[in-house]
Amino acid sequence: MRRAIAALAALLALGAPAGAFAADCPRTSLGDIEDEVMCPVCGTPLELATEAPQAQRERAYIEELIADCRSKDEIKTALVGQFGDSVLALPGDEGDDDLGDVLVYAIPALALLMAAGGLALAALRWRGAREAGGAAEVEGATDAATAAERPSGAASARLEADIERYEL
């Protein structure tokens, strides 16, 4: 029994550092970071720069930092140290361009609103024009039918004569 307890204690002692290490090591991944940083040479987010040699080195550097148990924020800070603020892809990350950060979000939102408004307005106008056109068409058709039904003077006289002839 004592042996079993000792073996269990030894196992726990061996497992404890690994568990503590896992808890201390922040979980992040290359995929989690590469959409938030730029490839400075390519001018695109790192995730889009697949072939560029600089992008490949940047990825390798990030993976080294991940293996070194650095958190996402620490890795971003390290990247800024290597490549400057422009390596950060997300507005607001740089922290020194408030107006620019607002505009990055505001301009697309405004453009979307304008596009939606324009479409709505166009749809309303199209619908109004269609309804007006339909009403005019119906009115025109009715007039034409009435005119077609109404016989001309000569025809009317002939019709009257025919009716009298066949009247029983």
Partner: protein
Amino acid sequence: MRRVLSPLPLAVLCAVAALVALLVYGVAQSEPDRDIDDALARGEREPAPALTLPQLEGGGRGGLADYRGQVVVLNFWASWCKPCREESPLLEKWQKRTAAGGGTVLGVDALDVTGDALDFIGEYGLSYPMLKDRDGEAMASYGVAQLPETFVIDRRGRIAAIRRGPVDEAFMRAEVAPLLEGS
């Protein structure tokens, strides 16, 4: 008076025009500055843009002002750049020659991881001074669009020659040697 366009198409036209203007501006901004090339093509030597950057190793800053009155072979490079590997032994060879003639090769490691750059320097045994252009601003001021690029600066601080691509022996003999001899 007859109305030419109703407000909606007018607004759409304005939006499209604004987008096209934005696109043109973006393309124009991404074009490298070629003023130096134009001046050289006219036979003129432009003053080299001011350059002060952190030292690649050991802290502190350095720049062209440290080499006033000397011939400077300013070389932009990075450890991930393959052609930079080809020209590095030649630049090291010419560093010895320029140092003897009152000049220096000055390396600018651009958009690079410092550890990789130091490994590169160790691998090729480069002895000339190195600066770090971490975000590529110095590159932009020289109109550098690809690496490596080299600027030969005369003793009066003017750009005497450019090689946009790796340097070779013929370029160094033609553009650097006469400046060293003219001291």
